[in-house]
Amino acid sequence: MSRWLDRWDGYWFPPTPTLHLSICRVVAVATQLFWFFPSLDEHINFLEKNTEFIEPQLLIRGISALVPRDLFFTPAAFTALYWITAVAGVAALVGFLTRPSLLVFALGIWIFVAHLFSYGDRHHTEAVFCIFLMLLAFSPSGERLSVDGVLRRRRGRSAIHPEEVRDSSETAIWPLKVVHVLLALTYFSAGTAKLLTGGLAWMNGYTLQSHAFVDALDRGFPLGLWVAQHHTVAVFLSVFTILYEVFFFVSLILPWTAPLVFLGGLGFHIGLYATGGYDFFQHMVLLALLLVFIAPDWWRAWLNKYLDPILSRER
């Protein structure tokens, strides 16, 4: 039993520089604030033109059970929520009262996304990213690159609380590792669903041609129209899609493959966007963070191997 617990500890809680998670916080919060932030106009439009939800999400049902609809689901209340979320986001970005700020920010974003998906439409792009934002609130992501960190260091310098200065922590990597596991789960689920429903015929080329054609035509993506007209390319991309989705989890079992799998994932999502406008930007951000921080030694070794000879030659 204790061997298993040690393994569990070894996987989830290795000592990690807190700077890594702090960089993740800054990147995740900044992208959510300046790239993926909800459109207030869109939410108000839904609120004004619908007297009830079409398919309310669990979170929205929970709120509705606690607060009457005409009190919370109003343009005024959503405008207030919008600004509270934005202010909490700025505080989380600069790391001021980091944990509570992150919690309020993540909760606000969850409410906005769940609200948007309560009118009969839902998408997969936000889910894992929003979970990551929430997990950051329960981790030491505000130790560095933060107002909190500066204040803590000042206190530490005055020797009143020297123990509060933490450059490394055993709890500074688990949110990223959870994201890695969740991405493996979601890709595996997507890949196996294709194989179980469509069978091997999913890779016949016609499937991808059809999907690419419909979406590229609708959204105006010339590369997708090109793929739709090239059967062999579609077969190749279909096989790559299935292999990538089904075998992403290998990066969990064989850590040395992880950076390559993450790089492949970035290429996969860029390709998906370029062909059909499938905007998994949140996944791209997560994959980039995983690429840099899940196996930093890989990068260091790679840089030492290829960059050092160049630099020494220059010298």
């Binding site: 999400q57 689920s189 429903t197 469509g198 016609y206 499937t207």
Partner: protein, 150 residues
């Protein structure tokens, strides 16, 4: 630290475990965001012509102004617009057109009096993409009839 790790471990197991709920509860699987089932684009297409259709509804108001019926104008998502109005109206469903016009005219000073469903079919061919215009399906609010025009 032991206590903190225990709490985090519970959180990790919970976050991962909750992803099983949409798989096990079929009825609720669409309403458990952010815990979702990831079966997207799962259906295979049979060998055959690669086709796509572009559809839009153009409304004409009593003052003669034409306006495209968008998701924003309706306050509905594209999925609902497709399922409730675009597809049924394409098949000549009058009740869908009537429901749409009622929804659109709620609180409007200049009500819609006519809806036109326009569509084109695009097909991939050896020489490129071929466009074919489909008959326009027009619905007038006062006549309660559907008129198909070319």
């Amino acid at each position: 630290m032991r206590r903190r790790k225990l709490l985090i471990s519970t959180t990790i197991l919970l976050v991962i475990g909750l992803h099983a709920v949409p798989v096990l509860h079929r009825r609720e699987r669409g309403t458990l965001w952010p815990f979702m089932q990831w079966a997207m684009y799962k259906n295979a297409a049979a060998p055959g012509p690669i086709q796509a259709q572009k559809r839009r509804i153009i409304g004409t108001t009593s003052k003669g102004q034409a306006e495209e019926v968008t998701t924003h104008l309706l306050g509905l998502s594209i999925t609902v617009l497709e399922a409730r109005y675009l597809r049924p109206m394409g098949k000549g469903d009058r009740s869908a057109a009537r429901a749409l016009i009622t929804r659109l005219n709620r609180g409007r000073d200049d009500p819609f009096v006519e809806l036109r469903l326009e569509s084109e079919t695009y097909t991939v061919s050896d020489t490129g993409i071929v466009r074919q215009d489909n008959p326009v399906v027009a619905y007038r609010a006062d006549s309660a009839d559907i008129e198909v025009t070319h």
